[in-house]
């Protein structure tokens, strides 16, 4: 059984007992425990079920690489699936449940899959469930979906109560990893004067060194770590963050850090996670190495654990994974585990060393302790189901012939070490194969490069392939110094501390145990514990031609589990290379992708959720609208009143009332959201002539002109009234949704094509409140406010004037989008509310009525004015809309001119703007298409036009619509049929002029 020893545990505090539950069972652990160590201390080796065969799974590792010990953490709104027990710090009240089983962890029906495992081999689903066709959707797939998936889905209505935040950091040298290499590198760079940030994913600095032994500068590694951390903390230019992982490195050295602030103490206030967005001059990754499992039959039985993990549990937490542990290895490091177990008084019946030549000094030490050491030996098979009960041993060189059976309840395995090269690889760093150590390590000649083409990332210590303590520290010192030097700092005289570690015999690569394992053994030798991928699966993939490592991965799902192959990838690709008869470096690795370990969606989203997600932009009148019952419509990032329904009034009725009130008396519209872009400079006129189809340079100061803007491809993208402020200044009104886009469009041309023109643009949209004062009484109400002469003579149509209106500084534009007498009054934003209220006060006698966007739309449609986004959709040119008059023939060029000369653009067969009048007076559906006889070559119904805008007009008392119709203007009076959404029912309409109301413009000409 696994148990807590009477003493030991350098990270735990035995005076602080914590209660937690696992599958409802009340258990206790100590402060400093991880959930995994606490479970092991309670003899809970079985912690989950695998993905495919639902095999029993136990803790196999002690860190981020853990593929098995995944739990659902928390309850209610705080449910978090797939949390790794090995990196979950225990806290009082923690509640965890195991995953992927029914009805219980111990008795899981899904394990029956194991019985048909011979059929469910790699890629089986590609070969079956093909017939009968409907069965895939209705029977096979739902079953597969239900049995797949790991953690429990949170409740559909769960709302994460925690907050998250983003921070930016800019440093000279960023060190990722706080083991001895990271500390040393940070020290070297810090001593040179560089601003250093060091991130460590775990709560503890020092990494493996305090567990693995040896001495540094004659000290115990733990004492050295303590002293070094103290020295770093004393440096003003060095910052250390624990519980913060280097999650990913992106192009040009953009680094993502993931800090878990209160996962270990959920009662703490403040954000749960913090996402660091870091720009560093140089990055040093000191991310260590991960031990590899060995591939032997039954290597997945709970109780089989990485040798280093078993050592961690013993030293760090005082927890023994078993009473009798067989150690199996191809290198010397695992002997450390055997020695430490023995020294703790636990039984180690044998060390099976696959190497014929055996181990070095550590082996001698083990023997001296009385441990039986066998050379050239291997595990043929692990016995046991939900827990190891023994091992069958054999010769490594053979096919698995049984030599002896040894009862035991745990197996410690070591297949050598793989440097953590993930971060190096994220941003394009290449690897080389180190044959002697059987590992991929970073190729220093093919480093990731920054924006200047120079290497921006270096790797230190075990991550760089230096597994011995002394080498690690020397490399780390050198990398830290070089990182600082690359940034122009002068490293000091310091040197790496001397370290002593036991000499080790070389490792012998073992990719299958025993080397010639029989079929039945290979089918039980697991590579990917979570996804249930076996040696035989990879071999089958190779047999079937899935020879690329990427094909094999995708065909077998090797390395696609939540650990992303941290334990399985190298063993898997070595198996593949053997099956193909190729060398490992020829086979290569799959691509390493961020993040290093999974990071929460909440952290990625950051603060911007709820009301802060694309915050609503508000005009100065927003609160007034809200208080007066506005029915809102989202328009871009704004909300605009769609209408102002009065108590008991429907939205539709409100719209009708607003139109009528405006046409007969006085309407007031908040037009503040319309874009207002200032274009200024000696070349402003020239620039305006390029941006607009109209001639703008000849516009006189004091005058306005309706202008059109086209894309390079000739399509109409925006429209609006341009006012000339003075010789060098234009004020361009854009659509509400277009303001930012059009400003960017202007800047793009200025900055990339006409960078030598003297023009400056500014988006002034939010600087002004703008109110449209519309209707027969418009002038009367403004005159009541007083201060400006707004008579027809003083301010004719399409003129503008500046002055003081009712005591407020104002610009008044005499423009109309409704066909009524209309003035748009702009005042500084903070005076907007005052103007609006004064207009209502003064207008009361004229029935002043606020109106919303829908009334605006109806009035413009009654007049046949186009609306960007309705009549246009990115495929419409001004010529289609009868706007030839707004296109200057005198100019050499404007954006879109060349495109509008293309053959399809000048084709007389284009669809063109008309009015549409339903025969029965009803309203045509928006977006309906007019059908034409026959079908096209692809069998689709032919069409001859479509509805672009459609409304009920209260002014005319019937439905009116605008549309684009094939040769429409030539077909006045003709009747055409529009299909309803069912494609069958038709509604007939007559083609008429798009100007339905006051065609001569008499209403505004007063």
């Amino acid at each position: 059984m696994s148990t807590r020893l009477a003493t030991g545990g350098r990270l735990t505090d035995r005076s602080d007992r914590l209660e937690f539950t696992f599958n409802g069972k009340r258990l206790t652990g100590f402060a400093g425990d991880t959930l995994a160590s606490a479970l092991l201390a309670n003899d809970q080796m079985l912690v989950g079920r695998s993905f495919k065969y639902h095999r029993p799974r136990g803790v196999v590792a002690s860190g981020a690489e853990e593929p098995n010990a995944l739990v659902n953490l928390g309850t209610g709104d705080r449910v978090e699936p797939n949390q790794r027990a090995t990196t979950t710090e225990l806290f009082h009240g923690l509640s965890a449940t195991s995953q992927n089983h029914w009805p219980s962890l111990e008795h899981d029906i899904g394990a029956l899959n194991g019985l048909v495992a011979p059929v469910l081999t790699a890629g089986f689903y590609y070969k079956m469930f093909i017939h009968p066709r409907p069965f895939w959707k209705h029977i096979y797939e739902p079953f597969i979906r239900q049995s797949a998936g790991l953690g429990r889905a949170p409740d559909p209505e769960a709302r994460d109560p925690d907050t998250y935040e983003h921070v930016h950091a800019h440093v000279d040298v960023l060190v990722l990893g706080g083991g001895v290499a990271g500390l040393q590198a940070a020290h070297a760079a810090g001593a040179a004067g560089a601003q250093v940030l060091l991130l460590e994913q775990s709560p503890h600095l020092g990494g493996r060194a305090p567990v693995d032994g040896g001495t540094i500068d004659g000290q115990d590694p733990e004492a050295w770590v303590e002293a070094t951390v103290a020295a770093l903390k004393a440096m003003d230019n060095v910052d250390i963050r624990t519980r913060t992982m280097g999650a990913g490195i992106y192009d040009h050295g953009y680094v993502l850090g993931y800090e878990r602030l209160n996962d270990h103490a959920p009662w703490l206030a403040g954000p749960r996670h913090r996402l660091w967005r870091i720009r560093a001059g140089q990055v040093v990754t000191a991310t260590g190495a991960i031990e590899r499992p060995l591939s032997f039959a039954g290597n997945d039985v709970p109780g089989v654990m990485l040798a280093s993990a078993m050592r961690d549990y013993l030293v760090n937490y005082g927890v023994a994974a078993g009473d009798r542990t067989v150690v199996v290895t191809n290198n010397d490091d695992a002997y450390r585990t055997a020695i430490i177990l023995k020294q703790a008084g636990l039984d180690v019946p044998a060390i099976l060393d696959a190497r014929e030549y055996g181990g070095g000094a550590l082996a001698a030490e083990a023997r001296a302790l009385g441990i039986r050491v066998e050379q050239g030996r291997a595990i043929a098979k692990v016995q046991g189901g939900k827990r190891v009960t023994g091992v069958a041993i054999c010769a490594q060189a053979g096919a698995g012939g049984l030599l002896e059976e040894i009862p035991c309840d745990a197996v410690a395995m070591s297949g050598g070490w793989s440097p953590v090269v993930h971060l190096w690889s994220h941003c394009g760093g290449k690897l080389l194969w180190d044959d002697a150590q059987a590992m991929f390590r970073p190729d220093p000649d093919r480093a990731p490069t920054g924006a200047d083409g120079a290497p921006m990332l270096r790797v230190a210590g075990a991550a760089n392939g230096f597994l011995r303590l002394g080498d690690t520290l020397r490399d780390a010192e050198a990398q830290g110094r070089e990182a600082a030097a690359a940034l122009g700092f002068t490293p000091g005289a310091g040197a790496a501390p001397a370290a002593e570690a036991t000499e080790e015999a070389p490792l012998a690569p073992v990719w299958l145990m025993p080397q010639g394992a029989r079929d039945d053994l290979r089918k039980k030798a697991w590579l990917d514990y979570q996804n249930d991928v076996k040696v035989s699966d990879v071999q089958l993939a190779a047999q079937e031609g899935f020879e690329s490592v990427e094909h094999t991965k995708r065909y077998t799902t090797l390395g696609m589990a939540t650990d992303q192959g941290k334990l399985s990838n190298i063993n898997g690709l070595a198996t593949l290379s053997r099956a193909l008869g190729e060398e490992i470096p020829q086979v290569g690795t799959t691509t390493f992708r961020p993040p290093y370990t999974p990071i929460s969606m909440g952290a990625i989203a950051g603060e911007a959720k709820g009301k802060l997600f694309q915050p609503i932009r508000k005009t100065p009148l927003h609160d007034w609208h809200e208080a007066h019952g506005a029915h809102w419509e989202p328009v871009g990032q704004w909300r605009r009143p769609y209408a102002y329904p009065q108590p008991g009034e429907s939205v539709h009725d409100a719209v009708m009332r607003e139109v009528t009130a405006t046409r007969t008396g006085l309407g007031l519209l908040d037009a503040s959201t319309l874009g207002k872009i200032l274009v200024k400079g000696p070349d402003a006129g020239r620039f305006m002539d390029m941006m607009y189809t109209n001639m703008m340079s000849t516009l006189k100061p004091g005058r306005c002109r309706y202008g059109l803007m086209c894309s390079e491809n000739g399509f109409l993208i925006d429209d609006g009234v341009v006012a000339r402020i003075d010789d060098q200044t234009f004020l361009c009104h854009t659509t509400t949704g277009g303001a930012d886009r059009i400003h960017a469009h202007m800047e793009e041309w200025l900055q990339t094509e006409w960078w030598d023109w003297q023009v400056y643009t500014a988006n002034l949209t939010e600087q002004y409140a703008q109110i449209a004062v519309v209707g027969p009484k418009a002038r009367a109400v403004l005159d009541k406010l007083g201060g400006m002469d707004l008579s027809a003579e003083a301010l004719p149509f399409m003129g503008w004037a500046e002055g003081t209106l009712g005591g407020l500084p104002a610009r008044v534009f005499r423009i109309s989008f409704s066909g009524e007498l209309s003035f748009e009054v702009a005042v500084p934003a903070h005076r907007g509310r005052a103007l609006w209220e004064r207009l209502h006060e003064a207008g009361a006698e004229f029935g002043a009525t606020p109106y919303g966007t829908e009334a605006l739309h109806i009035m413009r449609a009654e007049k046949g004015f186009i609306m960007i986004g309705d009549e246009t959709d990115g495929t419409v040119i001004p010529q289609d809309l009868g706007l030839h008059w707004a296109i200057s023939k005198k100019k050499d060029d404007y954006l879109g001119k060349r495109a509008q000369a293309r053959s399809h653009m000048t084709d007389p067969d284009r669809w063109q703007l008309v009015g549409l009048e339903t025969l029965e007076g009803g309203v045509l559906p928006d977006g309906a298409y007019a059908v034409a006889p026959g079908r096209n070559a692809n069998g689709q119904r032919n069409t001859q036009g479509r509805v672009t805008s459609s409304y009920h007009s209260p002014t005319l008392g019937r439905g009116i619509a605008m549309g684009l119709v094939h040769k429409g203007p030539e077909r006045m009076g003709e009747e055409i049929a529009f299909a309803m959404e069912d494609g069958e029912t038709m509604m007939r309409a007559r083609i008429v002029s798009p100007v339905f109301f006051d065609p001569d413009g008499e209403k505004q000409n007063v």
């Binding site: 070969k127 093909i130 994460d160 941003c427 690329s548 992708r593 959709d873 495929t875 053959s903 298409y929």
Partner: protein, 414 residues
């Protein structure tokens, strides 16, 4: 070719799976082919397949620089739908969707086409209008779609938040016969069928030059030697511009990175595909249980198959807003692919200025769903010089200004 079936699996299980053949032969190039396809992605393999199946042209090689299916075919979010606005788009995507329905049976390879339904949320009045227009167009195009109410949206997607503070869900365009498929399997299934017809799939074979004589293609130079051909199809997505330059013409495409990500797997909680274009994000749940998430393309040109993180942030933010329960799920992996974008965001399937050279590119962010239809039409174009499915997508359209713009209705992402 040994047929796949449950029966065959059981038989092989008893035999220790020793009898499974290679899914596709490991071919070496011959001196001459009637047709060469550059690019063994989904589109290239489907083209070859239909050249053989519909036109009896089987002396075909498919050349692949890396590993087959390793480009965007193996990197996309596997959405299949055909509710496009413009007639030519709806025609080719609907043809494609219809072919997907029976593709597993046709190829004897389970590509796991799952018509679980695709929903495109309308979150502004403008979007409502755009999708209603699309629904009208689809009715006449023979594409079955409907505009559904927020209530129906919630019934189909219990995890959705209808009344977010920013963009409430006003309805959705719903295509119930749209869905997803296993992307790798599509490439593998076509590859197996092509190989079975005697076609040569040659991997790790990079084309380094295109040989012409008198304005006509005569063959290609590759890292595995020169190969002659009568017809050449270039189907290489992100690197189309590079190949076009080898052939001596230019293309109106830009290559940018498009990114996707998956969460850790959880038990089923979302049965349909949801696209939210106003906030830029889409999500579905794979059969493995991962939430598969896609977003917008980067705004700068790029050939590295990586992307910038800020797009991931925007996408995840949008989806946490739309599906708040995902906040405590974790991102497992993010990746990028290089998509080739044209000016009108529609593909190019066309003859080229070089006689005998045909190009199939420009699928941008929407290529996976089009694989069977694209292969079908492009094979017809290569065999007969014309195809009603592909003719509207010719290169000439850019010179003529005859754009097929799909972004029009509501800024729809593919």
């Amino acid at each position: 070719m040994k047929r796949y079936s449950a029966f065959a699996l059981v038989r092989e299980a008893l035999n220790g799976h020793k009898g499974w053949e290679r899914a596709w032969r490991n071919a070496q190039p011959k001196a001459h082919y009637d047709a060469i396809i550059i690019g063994a992605g989904g589109h290239g393999l489907a083209t070859a397949y239909y050249l053989g199946k519909n036109f009896g042209i089987t002396n075909v090689a498919i050349l692949e620089k890396g590993w087959l299916g390793g480009g965007n075919t193996g990197r996309n979010t596997t959405i299949i739908r055909s509710n496009y606005l413009q007639d030519p788009s709806a025609a080719i995507y609907e043809k494609s969707r219809a072919l997907y329905e029976t593709l597993s049976q046709e190829l004897n390879y389970n590509i796991m086409f799952s018509p679980r339904g695709v929903m495109m949320l309308a979150q502004t009045e403008h979007e409502v209008r755009g999708y209603r227009r699309t629904a009208h167009a689809n009715a006449l195009q023979g594409v079955s779609t409907e505009f559904i109410s927020p209530r129906r949206v919630k019934e189909l997607v219990p995890i959705i938040e209808l009344n977010g503070p920013r963009y409430p869900v006003l309805g959705a365009l719903w295509q119930d016969r749209a869905g997803t498929a296993r992307h790798d399997a599509v490439a593998w299934g076509y590859a197996r069928a092509c190989s079975d017809m005697g076609m040569d799939i040659i991997q790790k074979c990079e084309v380094t030059g295109i040989t012409r004589e008198g304005g006509r293609v005569t063959g290609v130079q590759t890292t595995k030697g020169d190969i002659a051909c009568d017809r050449l199809g270039i189907v290489v997505a992100g690197h189309s511009g590079v190949l076009a330059e080898m052939a001596g013409f230019r293309l109106p495409v830009e290559s940018v990175a498009l990114q996707a990500l998956v969460s850790e797997p959880i038990k089923p909680c979302m049965d349909v595909v949801v696209m939210a274009n106003t906030v830029h994000g889409y999500m579905s749940q794979s059969d493995k249980g991962e939430m598969v998430i896609g977003g917008g393309a980067d705004g700068f040109n790029n050939y590295t198959q990586r992307g910038s993180f800020h797009h991931i942030e925007e996408t995840v933010r949008a989806l946490v807003e739309t599906f708040p329960m995902i906040s405590r799920l974790k991102m497992l992996r993010q990746w990028g692919g290089i998509v080739d974008m044209t000016g009108d965001r529609s593909p190019i399937l066309s003859k080229t200025p070089i006689e005998g050279v045909f190009i199939n590119c420009g699928w941008g962010t929407g290529g996976f769903k089009a694989i069977p239809g694209s292969g079908w039409g492009f094979a017809e174009l290569m065999a007969k010089g014309t195809s009603p499915l592909t003719d509207p997508f010719s290169l000439n359209r850019f010179g003529e200004g005859r754009f097929i713009d799909e972004s029009v209705a509501a800024g729809v992402a593919h």
